[in-house]
């Protein structure tokens, strides 16, 4: 495996970490927005408690991913920045609003009205951001972003508005909501809250499952290359694995085996993204930008690869400490 391919794989791994950790934090915001009824305030407290200590650390996976992209594949980063100018700007608005709304709500005011207002901003931006990120991932797979020599073709700026990226955006939203509900069913201390989040997880399982099938059908219609790669090795193995995990996830939720459901839910998302990565190979942005073609000079790749073990040696024990203090022993945290 070339160094460039290895670093691309590290990026994919970061994306998966971001999806199963940061994605659930977005999902918590979505449930915050949708919470109604007598247990609404209890839901909100539980959601804030669950994500408070970890959301900033989880968010860094995205920064890490983007830094690796511009370091190791600078022309891919530049092309995506031009073609996805608008969806990425809106992603940033969502990220900035979500973060500030969360801390303002937690620290700024005790007044219920102000808290509720920040809660709405927090929820709406938590819902908007994963949709747009999902759209960007869809857009780099369809072939709508073209480069003409060193320039990005003008029509590329609209690639994100076609129906396949929009569908992947909605799927991303549903996955975030699903993961958050599953994790919260495991984490909540209160039995009634556990039941609420279990019901939500089951609902999301059904809708997200249907949406996955729709996305595959749209890939068949709109992104034929992606479809053919998704249905051949190695991607097909991951997609099939994800499909096999789905009923197991459902069964574990049904039987209230939340610890297992949490692992299976995360594994499903990992399998889906591994499948996407396998199908996307060897492209970063289909069809003009490949991993090998966009790779930075060897000296950069080597230095970056050399920083990874040092960085992870600091990161892994720190993360372990964070999660063991706040997420250890389901229901006791």
């Amino acid at each position: 495996m070339s160094l460039a391919a290895l670093l691309a794989f590290v990026m994919l791994a970061s994306l998966i970490a971001y999806a199963i950790l940061g994605g659930a934090d977005f999902g918590a915001g979505i449930w915050d927005l949708l919470s109604r009824g007598p247990r609404g305030p209890a839901h909100r407290r539980e959601l804030a408690r669950a994500i408070g200590p970890v959301w900033e650390a989880n968010h860094v996976w995205l920064i890490f991913l983007i830094v690796l992209l511009f370091t190791c594949f600078p022309s891919a980063y530049a092309t995506a920045s031009i073609a996805l100018f608008w969806p990425l700007h809106l992603v940033l608005v969502g990220i900035v609003l979500r973060g500030t709304a969360f801390v303002f709500r937690a620290y700024a005011s005790a007044s219920a009205g102000v808290q509720a207002a920040w809660g709405h901003v927090f929820g709406a931006s938590s819902a908007m951001t994963p949709v747009l990120l999902g759209i960007c991932l869809g857009a780099v797979s369809t072939g709508g972003i073209r480069t003409d020599g060193s320039l990005v073709a003008p029509a590329s700026g609209l690639a994100w508005t076609s129906r396949f990226p929009l569908a992947t955006g909605i799927l991303a939203l549903l996955i975030c909501a699903y993961l958050a509900a599953v994790y919260l069913a495991w984490e909540s201390r209160d039995a009634a809250l556990k039941e609420d989040f279990r019901a939500r997880a089951i609902g999301c399982w059904l809708v997200a499952g249907a949406m996955s099938i729709l996305v595959l059908l749209l890939a068949y219609a709109d992104a034929p290359r992606l479809w053919s790669r998704l249905t051949s090795p190695p991607a097909v193995a991951f997609i099939a694995g994800g499909a096999l995990l789905a009923p197991a996830s459902f069964a574990s939720l049904w039987r209230r085996r939340y610890g297992l459901a949490r692992v299976l839910g995360a594994a499903q998302v990992g399998a889906l993204l591994l499948g996407w990565g396998g199908a996307q190979w060897p492209f970063l942005i289909y069809p003009d930008i490949t991993i090998a073609g966009a790779a930075a000079p060897q000296s950069t790749l080597m230095l970056t690869a050399a920083t990874l073990p040092i960085g992870f040696a600091a990161l892994v024990p720190s993360l372990w400490l964070l999660f063991s203090v706040f997420k250890g022993k389901g229901g006791e945290a």
Binding site: F70, A78, L88, L92, V93, I95, Y107, P297
Partner: protein, 442 residues
């Protein structure tokens, strides 16, 4: 509005906004740790209240710093894709290391903020150390990028305009980096220290009585601020000497030096007139600039006359920003000396002395000056580098995005950041006027 103009304004807004929060996120944990140490060591309840208050402040500013920093990591490409396509492989590894430092900072901040009851006091304090150290480290690593833009190393420009013979490691050995990193790190302590000191001075001024909480807060803040304020001119001098050798056009713009001369004067104030090629109304100290540039009164200082007109930085902005920075620094030094002199005269009583009202008023005036100096210093180094984005390699105009409606994203971000600043000012005001006894979450 052209895309270039819009992109520049959006970048300036985003960086100028981010910098305030990044600075607080770097420096505030140090004050927090000093206060928490007093609590652990002496069971000083006021110190604990201060540590908790500063932790709350760090929580909010760190979060805004983190999300606005994320925005910047995208905006680099969204606004300057050609710059990033060129520079990414060179500046990227420092950013990757910064990413890890930032990761560690975020993790330990989570442990610190939510761990008051879950960790032993000592472990909690150590988590705070991890926040403070990794915050400084990530600031320093980001500065590697800026140092490289001022002093690009580790490549040649190839025939197609892209870098060849790339030696990414050279960027981490860049001689321009240490002095810049030192100067900007000190500026965060100075800005945050004086802002906090001014807040407590204001509380004492208003109430006409001094509670111990405010006096202790003021003392800790002034200790941090004064240390930085004393070291800052020294690190600034290193930068000026570097500019004399490596970026003479920037030094000429900072000083309003239009003609090349020996025994060049140091100008205090004054308005550079680019059309008449002279700086008017300045107080001139003969030969002082030559001395500062290379420790010799007879040093020749290059004026803007030695550079083609299209390579001049905006002289007026660079000169005025530099004057503002130096003026603010001097004012802060004087007020700091006054404070410590007052304390020293009554030294047996420690912090328990009434401070004279003129001193309190001066401290209040100094509250924003550290941030003013920080932003002005940034303007000096960035505007002074123009018209280059990578000094002598790539012009800013050649780096901008080809997207044509950047003004729309400028409006979007301008509105977003302006709104957040107003809300944050409101929040800080509330926090400053209440006592810090509330636990930071319940």
């Amino acid at each position: 509005m052209t895309s270039l103009t819009a992109a520049r304004i959006q970048m300036e807004l985003s960086l100028g906004f981010h910098m305030i929060f990044a600075a607080i996120g770097i420096a505030m944990p140090a004050m927090m740790l000093i206060a928490e140490h007093r609590w652990i060591r002496y069971r000083d309840a006021d110190a604990l209240a201060l540590a908790r208050m500063w932790a709350r402040l760090t929580a909010v500013t760190f979060a805004i710093g983190a999300v606005s920093g994320t925005a910047l990591s995208f905006e680099l490409g969204l606004l300057w894709p050609r710059f990033m396509a060129f520079a990414g492989p060179l500046i990227g590894p420092a950013f990757a290391l910064e990413g890890f430092a930032f990761f560690v900072e975020a993790i330990f901040l989570g442990l610190y903020l939510y761990g008051w009851e879950r960790l032993s006091p000592r472990r909690h304090w150590l988590c705070g150390w991890a926040v403070a150290v990794s915050g400084v480290l990530s600031g320093i690593l980001v500065l590697a990028t800026n140092a490289w833009m001022q002093h690009p190393v580790g490549f040649r420009v190839g025939p197609d305009g892209q870098p060849v013979d790339v030696d990414a490691f050279a960027v981490l050995l860049n001689p321009a980096w240490p002095a810049m990193a030192l100067h900007s790190t000190l500026s965060t302590y100075q800005a945050v220290g004086f802002a906090a000191a001014g807040t407590y001075a204001w509380a004492m001024w208003r109430r006409r009585q001094t509670d111990r909480y405010s006096r202790l807060g003021l003392a800790i803040a002034m200790a941090v601020a004064t240390g930085a304020a004393i070291l800052q001119p020294i690190s600034g001098d290193l930068l000026a000497k570097r500019a004399h050798v490596h970026q003479p056009a920037k030094l000429a713009a900072m000083e309003g030096q239009f003609q090349t001369e020996r025994r060049a004067p140091l100008r205090i104030g004054g308005i550079p007139d680019v059309d008449r090629r002279e700086t008017r109304y300045a107080i001139e100290i003969p030969a002082a600039l030559s001395f500062l540039a290379a420790s010799d009164l007879d040093t020749e200082v290059l004026g803007l006359d030695r550079f083609p007109r299209e390579d001049w930085p905006p002289v007026l902005v660079t000169h005025l920003a530099f004057q503002i920075m130096v003026g603010a620094a001097m004012a802060m030094l004087v007020v700091a000396a006054w404070y410590w002199l007052t304390r020293w005269r009554a030294r047996p009583r420690g912090i328990d002395i009434p401070l004279p009202r003129p001193l309190l008023a001066s401290l209040v005036v100094c509250a924003p000056l550290g941030f003013v100096a920080l932003e002005a210093g940034w303007v000096v180094t960035e505007v002074g580098r123009q018209p280059w984005v990578i000094y002598n390699v790539m012009r800013t105009a050649d780096a901008a995005t080809p997207v044509t409606d950047v003004w729309r994203s400028l409006v979007l971000f301008g509105t977003l950041y302006a709104g957040l600043l107003v809300l944050l000012g409101f929040f800080l005001w509330k926090l400053a006027t209440e006592r810090g006894s509330t636990p930071e979450h319940s």
